[in-house]
């Protein structure tokens, strides 16, 4: 049945549009909102080259709401970019652990893509598979195999 529907609509590979944090800035309780805003400021910092300040801002976001999955996602991206894949993978794990099931699908592409990027050195074939999955789920965002801070924003 599902296969038939997929075939009919031709959307087997595509998932829902990957999340942009500005879209979820007003979701959740007050703590979550404040925390997400700090993550957004961190992403702006990162886009402006203030890398250390950005990481600090993500950590502040966790100080406000330590169960904010977006802060872990942003930190995972940050550590991938800083060339610390193990650290990035741990943050991805933590992001998944904190994710609300309702958000899972919209983050799936980011998780897959960042996992692929983090595994590039250690396990190239697994990395390729993850990146391919990310590109399939969100070709516009992950088509180039890279998640820019602004794409997450």
């Amino acid at each position: 049945m599902a296969a038939a529907l997929s075939w009919v609509f031709g959307c087997t590979a595509l998932g829902p549009a990957p999340v942009r944090l500005s879209e979820v800035a007003d979701d959740g309780d007050a703590r979550r909102r404040a925390s997400v805003r700090l993550v957004l400021e961190g992403l702006d910092d990162e886009a402006s080259g203030r890398v250390v300040g950005a990481a600090s801002q993500y950590e502040r976001a966790l100080q406000v709401d330590a169960s904010n999955p977006w802060a872990y996602l942003a930190l995972a991206r940050h550590w991938v970019e800083q060339g610390e894949p193990d650290r990035a993978l741990a943050f991805l794990d933590q992001c998944e652990a904190q994710l609300d099931p309702a958000d899972s699908l919209r983050v799936e592409a980011h998780l897959a893509g960042l996992r692929g990027a983090a595994l590039r050195e250690r396990d190239p074939s697994a990395s390729q598979a993850w990146l391919a999955q990310a590109a399939r789920l969100a070709p516009e965002t992950w088509g180039d195999g890279w998640l820019d801070a602004q794409e997450l924003r």
């Binding site: 309780d29 007050a30 703590r31 909102r33 404040a34 925390s35 805003r37 700090l38 957004l40 400021e41 250390v52 300040g53 990481a55 600090s56 801002q57 950590e59 502040r60 966790l62 100080q63 406000v64 330590a66 169960s67 930190l75 650290r87 741990a90 794990d93 933590q94 652990a97 904190q98 609300d100 099931p101």
Partner: protein, 821 residues
């Protein structure tokens, strides 16, 4: 008469005898003069030599000090910044107290000056000071905080008109690593000081500083005259250079010998160094007051201490006050002797005007200003155990000497408000215990101790740590140094090891049955026979029941099935680092561990099996203001999320129904999981607990283990309750969310079998997917075909077969309904 004779003799012609005598006398006189001259020359040389040697020695002393490290600057530790945001409970975070602690003062005017706030009806105006931070320095910011009931309604930046999502207050001073002298200073460079501060100091302390060579002869003569008239040493006459020399090299003794020494050294200092260097050294050295046992030295620290700001932001009257109190920092202490301090400040202002350093109008305006010292005065003493724990986490090269001298700034993870709450909970909690159980205080010299550590489970950040009831009396940090038996607080590790899926291993679920009956285990030391706390046996009980009621015997049985190796491995993976004995009684908590280890291990459970690295600091900044060290957040998955959730669920049951139900009866609401632990003879009382956002470990006991005479539910839980009520208003936020591979089924509490509709008793239970019970409750099964619902253990049963046998809820209902019919 003699003179006349000599004149006459000169006039008279000399007689022979007389002339011989005179010649002899003359020769003698010449010889005498020669000897005298020789003596003078020799003694001159000798004196010169001695003096020269002395001067060389003094010069060496001076240069060694000036060329080397001029000052010992204790490293300071700052708290995590407070973050304000809409929706935050401003009462719970103690916003007003926080502003006071930070040295903000109520003020008027529009806009408010930096460092002031105005608390109005539903609004707080605050002009926050700029503050330094290694990664995110913040500029001064003028904001309006709207208060809506107990919550912050919004924060608006009044300069830009923008609503802020989050607003930072600067980190607070937690404490410092002092050397034995307990001097606190914040080094400043001359260029960073306002000119009016320099002018004020020169005006009142040494107005000819820029002209004299180290000593001021006019001033010395004036002082000498006063002293001669009074018959003692009443007045100094010291220049700034002499004061600096005295503070650096000499004793406070008042004697002419010491004054000469001081003058010589002052001249040497001036000969070797320029005026700017001397002035900068003086302004960093000078004693300016006392914060408890800590001496405040230098303008940098004094500016922070009295006005809560950096010296470059000092105003003219503030500068004049600081210059004024140099004469007698305690006698003129502005907080205690405001009138005298004001008079002294105004004297400085008058001198500044007299010497042409300020205009009359400036003086008048400055004199009209009231003294506005910040309200902060004391260094929070409650955090000293935390400082000690932080020191242990710093890399080895930050030794005690380095910390006491290098002037580092350490940005810690401490939540200062939570820390004060924890310190109060420990102090008052123990006093209440002693009052309720006087036996605890029967030996006056040996007092019962406690420790409390609070972590953020996701990040491992230490938010509060109190290692004992009074650091002044005992520096032994029980949170990180005391290794005590964990007692039943260790049991969750046994259960985690049992529940964790192991290929080919037995499947244990929370509903699995354990036998609570006499048990004897052979050990090399003889048979081991565990007993329950009440010496009774209950027959078959579930894993959940065994843990919730903290039954030893079934837990020991479970541990026998699991094996010591797996239990040790599990405890270590969760975060226990102490050596664990591989003995059967390990299951009941004979291992000696620290409260911090226990907190970390429970944090791993709270965090869904991801073990956080303990983190007491974020950044270390060197004296050059550059980041020297960073400890990033780090964690590692060590247990699958499903198993971690099952243990969490068990520990929630301990709080809701089990040995920790005192937490609920005390009124604590929301998701709380935890485990009590009471060791043999009630020597140690533990309560290790967590909510989705906070892990708290409490230990109570004597340093030299002896019986408390009360269990952990009466010793440790009250401290936790006290802390949690203050810290979180008694309400835990968030929820423990089951991961995808965990599902809930109804079970029969008596048998542990699935309880379908029609079973007499049903209770929900959590299972890892695929490990649900293979049988249904006996009563229900009796009414069915016996082969229809036979034993169905998940492992070992082929997947297809299992799926085929597994009924859905709707299917169960239909089965039941049709069955009845």
């Amino acid at each position: 008469m003699a003179a006349r004779k000599r004149k006459a003799a000169r006039r008279r012609p000399a007689g022979r005898a007389r002339s011989k005598k005179a010649a002899r006398r003359s020769r003698g006189a010449r010889r005498g003069w020669k000897i005298a001259a020789l003596l003078v020359v020799v003694s001159g040389f000798a004196g010169g030599f001695v003096m020269g040697r002395h001067l060389v020695r003094l010069d060496r002393v001076v240069t060694e000090r000036f060329e080397g490290r001029l000052f010992r600057v204790p490293s300071r530790v700052l708290s995590a910044p407070t973050i304000l945001y809409p929706g935050l409970d401003w009462k719970q975070i103690g916003l007003r107290d926080g502003l006071d602690r930070l040295g903000y003062r109520p003020g008027g005017g529009d806009p408010l000056p930096v460092g002031r706030y105005r608390w109005g009806e539903g609004t707080v105006l605050l002009h926050r000071r700029p503050f330094e931070h290694p990664t995110r320095a913040e500029p001064a910011r003028y904001v309006q905080i709207r208060l809506e009931g107990a919550e912050i309604g919004g924060v608006r930046d009044l300069q830009s008109g923008r609503e802020l999502g989050a607003f930072f207050l600067e980190p607070e001073l937690v404490g410092a690593y002092h050397g034995p002298d307990r001097e606190q200073r914040d080094l400043v460079q001359l260029g960073d000081l306002p000119q009016h501060l320099v002018d004020a100091v020169i005006a009142v302390e040494d107005q000819r500083f820029l002209d004299h060579p180290g000593i001021d002869v006019r001033r010395i003569l004036g002082a000498l005259w006063v002293n001669v008239r009074s018959g003692g040493i009443r007045q100094g006459g010291s220049t700034l250079t002499q004061q600096l020399v005295k503070n650096f090299f000499l004793t406070p003794e008042r004697s002419y010998e010491r004054k000469i020494q001081e003058a010589l050294m002052a001249i040497l200092v001036e000969a070797r160094y320029d005026k700017s260097s001397i002035l900068e050294a003086y302004l960093n050295e000078i004693y300016l007051g006392q914060r408890g046992p800590t001496a405040i030295h230098g303008m940098g620290e004094a500016s922070r201490f009295y006005f809560g700001k950096q010296p470059r932001h000092l105003t003219l009257p503030e500068s004049a006050l600081l210059a004024g109190i140099i004469q007698s920092p305690n006698g003129l202490a502005p907080r205690r002797h405001a009138e005298a301090a004001t008079a002294r400040r105004n004297l400085v202002l008058r001198l500044m005007q007299d010497q042409g350093r300020i205009e009359p109008a400036e003086r008048a305006a400055a004199e009209a200003e009231p003294l506005r010292v910040s309200s902060t005065a004391s260094e929070p003493g409650e955090a000293r155990y935390f400082l000690e724990a932080l020191r242990r986490q710093l890399p080895d090269f930050y030794g005690q000497e380095t910390l006491a001298t290098e002037g580092l700034v350490i940005y810690s993870t401490l939540d200062l408000r939570l820390q004060m709450t924890a310190a109060r909970a420990v102090r008052e909690g123990l006093e209440a215990l002693e009052e309720r159980y006087p036996k605890l205080a029967s030996d006056g010299a040996v007092r019962v101790q406690a420790c409390l550590v609070a972590l953020r489970p996701q990040t491992g950040e230490v938010l509060a740590l109190v290692g004992g009831r009074d650091y002044g009396q005992s520096q032994f940090n029980r949170c990180v140094q005391a290794k005590r038996q964990a007692g039943s607080a260790f049991k969750p590790f046994v259960v985690a090891a049992a529940l964790e899926p192991v290929p080919g291993g037995p499947t244990v679920t929370l509903a699995s049955r354990l036998l609570d009956a006499p048990l004897e285990v052979s050990t090399p030391g003889g048979p081991w026979r565990p007993t329950n706390f009440d010496d009774e046996y209950r027959g078959e009980v579930s894993v959940r029941h065994a843990l919730e009621k903290s039954l030893n015997v079934p837990m020991a049985r479970l541990a026998q099935d699991v094996g010591t190796d797996r239990i040790v491995s599990m405890a270590q993976r969760l975060g226990i680092e102490s050596a664990l004995p591989r003995v059967p009684s390990l299951a009941l908590g004979v291992a000696e561990v620290t409260p911090l280890e226990m907190a970390r291990a429970y944090a791993t459970l709270a965090n869904g099996g991801i073990r956080p690295q303990i983190r007491t600091f974020e950044d270390v900044v060197g004296s050059d203001r550059r980041a020297a060290e960073r400890l990033p957040i780090a964690f590692e998955r060590v247990l699958d999320a499903g198993t971690a959730y099952l243990v969490t669920s068990l520990l929630e049951g301990v709080v809701d129904r089990g040995t920790a139900r005192g937490v609920r009866s005390a009124g604590i609401t929301g998701p709380v999981a935890g485990k009590t632990g009471t060791t043999n003879e009630e020597r140690d009382a533990w309560f290790v607990s967590f909510t989705p956002e906070l892990v708290v470990a409490v230990w109570v006991g004597f340093d030299r283990p002896r019986s408390l005479g009360i269990p952990s539910s009466r010793a440790a839980i009250p401290l936790f309750v006290r802390f949690f009520e203050d810290a979180r208003g008694g309400r835990a936020r968030g929820s423990f969310r089951p991961p995808g591979d965990v599902e809930q089924r109804m079970v029969d509490p008596e048998s542990g079998a699935l309880a379908l509709v029609g079973c007499p008793a049903r209770a929900p239970e959590w299972f890892l997917r695929g490990t649900e019970p293979a049988t249904v409750c006996p009563n229900w099964a009796n009414r069915r075909e016996p082969e229809a619902r036979t034993a169905r253990r998940a492992p070992g049963v082929p997947e297809a077969e299992r799926d085929a046998r597994e009924p859905g809820v709707f299917e169960q209902f239909l089965d039941e309904w049709f069955g009845r019919r």
